[in-house]
């Protein structure tokens, strides 16, 4: 009604019959004040795409009258229902609400309708017309992750091709990794000094890539230690990595024919608090004085305490991690370091089977694909910057080159 009043006022100011319009305004003014709040209109509701269901997006056009303190979003279950529950509140300037069913869950494949109730500062209310029926449903595919899916499929295809090649006996070359080659000598050093070998498998769970790689390397170190009659100590942070480490070391001792020398107490669980783990390990290193410390896996800020203590005792240290924040500390405190992916490659080389080596090869092929994709994307972006992308697309016969160019730039710089 406020727009009507504004329009009449303009007529009043501009017209030659101001007295008459004044009386018209005066006559309708009680009505304007009594029915001053207009409802929201064009309320629409639609299922939120690319999700597991149970979410509905509600939109509306805000009240033309203004003066709305808040909007109450009311959900009605069933096609003919007129009563509903308030599922959300928005302020007077907002025009959408994502109903995620926080307090009252939305059932999938059930009809719902929505009404938006405008509430004025004085408590006056005005309900909108209800939206059309809507159903929430679960999506089979999250299309926002399409690039992700394509990348996984491409990587998997590369992996399988390389595994087939490896199984046919085609040699798969992997360049030497310094830290890996130094591992056997480091165990030999411990054997010569008559001191134990110390192995920390990191702080991540055994399901994380760095820990999986670390466990792979542990088998190599444990087997070498067993062959050289050298004690190996593996203090664990994660309670589920602990039994895995125990089993790997036990198998390595069996493989080396030294099963009787395996001591399960040397593969221990300490604690799952990082700095407490660091304090305990630092104490162990100082008391047991291992000749060699292997530090492979994912570590956090406690790493420097471990490595600095090891360095202070004169131990040879070989480490590797995928934690970019901790790599500087590995490089400064370890004699040899595996940087990031070198850790995974080393674990694959230790495995020395076609599947493990194919994994590294597949990574390499994938990297080559990325090294081609990145400059290509940049070149396309530059064409767009200099206004040449539309011309190119037009020359290629694209129907709507402007929209296509806009979409490409959006994909490059604003999304996936």
């Amino acid at each position: 009604m406020r727009w009507a009043a504004t329009t009449l006022y303009k007529i009043y100011v501009r017209s030659n019959c101001q007295t008459m319009v004044f009386f018209v305004l005066l006559a309708i003014s009680p009505g304007l004040s009594a029915h001053g709040l207009a409802p929201a209109h064009n309320v629409t509701a639609q299922d939120e795409p690319d999700d597991g269901g149970g979410v509905i997006q509600v939109r509306w056009e805000i009240s033309e009258s203004g003066g709305v303190a808040r909007y109450e979003i009311i959900r009605m279950k069933g096609a003919g229902a007129t009563d509903g529950i308030v599922v959300g509140v928005r302020n007077g300037a907002q025009d959408s609400f994502l109903d995620e069913g926080d307090e009252h869950a939305i059932e999938n494949d059930v009809d719902y309708r929505y009404t938006v109730r405008a509430v004025g500062a004085d408590g006056e209310t005005a309900d909108s017309e209800p939206s059309a029926q809507v159903r929430a449903s679960a999506s089979w595919l999250d299309t926002t992750l399409a690039a992700n899916m394509v990348a996984v499929i491409v990587f998997a295809a590369m992996f399988f091709v390389l595994v087939m090649r490896g199984r046919r006996g085609k040699p798969l070359y992997i360049r030497p990794i310094d830290a890996l080659e130094a591992m056997d000598d480091a165990v030999g050093r411990a054997a010569e000094m008559g001191r134990p070998v110390f192995y920390a498998p990191g702080l991540h769970s055994v399901t994380q890539p760095a820990t999986v790689a670390s466990i792979g390397l542990l088998s190599r170190v444990a087997e070498k230690s067993a062959r050289l009659h050298t004690r190996i100590m593996v203090p664990n942070y994660d309670p589920l990595t602990w039994p895995v480490a125990q089993e790997v070391v036990r198998q390595s001792f069996i493989k080396a024919g030294r099963q009787e020398e395996y001591d399960p107490d040397d593969i221990s669980y300490l604690t799952s608090r990082s700095f407490t783990y660091a304090a305990a390990v630092a104490g162990m290193i100082v008391r047991e004085k291992p000749a060699t410390n292997f530090l492979f896996g994912h570590f956090y800020s406690e790493f420097l305490i471990l490595a600095e203590t090891g360095a202070a005792t004169g131990a040879l240290q070989i480490g590797g991690t995928d934690s970019t924040a901790q790599l500087p500390f590995f490089i400064t405190t370890c004699d040899k370091t595996m940087i990031g992916e070198e850790l995974f490659a080393a674990a694959a080389i230790v495995g020395d089977d076609p599947i493990s080596r194919s994994t590294v090869k597949a990574h390499d092929w994938f990297k080559v694909a990325l090294m081609v994709l990145i400059p290509t994307g940049i070149a396309v972006g530059m064409l767009a910057d200099f206004g040449m992308l539309e011309e190119l697309l037009h020359g290629l016969g694209v129907g709507d080159p402007a929209a296509a160019a806009s979409g490409i730039v959006e994909a490059l710089r604003g999304g996936r």
Partner: protein, 209 residues
């Protein structure tokens, strides 16, 4: 000086940990064992009260045989895991481990691909060379450094010739990045040290305000 007994306990334990800087000693050893015992006990209680009882025991107790199927599956996995301690059937515990590993790794793949690959590639492709000179220079370093670092992590070729030279550039890029990261993190560690010193000097001894 503080009269709060908790402050005193915390201060004595802090000094116990600091005493390791001199050498290993019985005081540090006692504090270390106390910390390990406390943290493990605390973790056990946390899992017991926040996970095991409310998520598994209570629902099973309330609904009995009519409980949701996945809860019984969890019970089965728990028993498989416990088989580890019975010599004759201990290999069954591997089933529980295999189940858990496969689920966790399967969930990790899309996350890793999204955060570790797609986001990085899109971020690198999205740079613009249509701006001020310093921005263009920064973007050239970013793209060139990324490609050189990727070459360093290429394992299928020996680092010789062009590949070797590019990998060498990649090594420099990595080392410069690590250097910057090192100094940044070192500052945060100093802030932690200042925090402990403040605790000792202000909260405990009260010699500064």
């Amino acid at each position: 000086m503080s009269t709060d007994p908790y402050i005193w306990v915390a201060a004595i334990l802090t000094l116990g940990v600091f005493s390791f800087l001199l050498r290993d000693n019985p005081f540090f050893c006692a504090v270390e064992h106390l910390l390990v015992g406390l943290s493990t006990g605390y973790m056990f209680c946390t899992y017991w009260h926040n996970v095991f009882v409310p998520e598994l025991v209570t629902p099973l107790w309330e609904h009995g045989a009519g409980s949701e199927a996945h809860l019984w599956a969890v019970v089965g996995i728990c028993f498989l895991w416990a088989c580890k301690y019975v010599e004759s059937v201990k290999d069954l515990s591997r089933l529980a481990l295999a189940f858990w590993l496969s689920i966790d790794l399967g969930l990790a793949i899309p996350t890793e691909m999204e955060a570790g690959v797609i986001a990085q590639v899109v971020g690198t492709m999205g740079v613009s060379f249509n701006g001020p000179v310093e921005e263009i220079f920064g973007n050239v370093v970013l793209v060139g450094g990324t490609l050189a670092a990727l070459t360093y992590f290429f394992f299928s070729k020996a680092h010789k010739g062009v590949v070797g030279a590019t990998a060498k550039v990649g090594t420099w890029v990595l080392m410069i990045g690590f250097g910057a990261s090192f100094s940044y993190i070192l500052l945060s560690r100093i802030a932690l040290l200042i925090g402990r010193l403040l605790f000792l000097l202000r909260d405990w001894l009260g010699v500064i305000h």
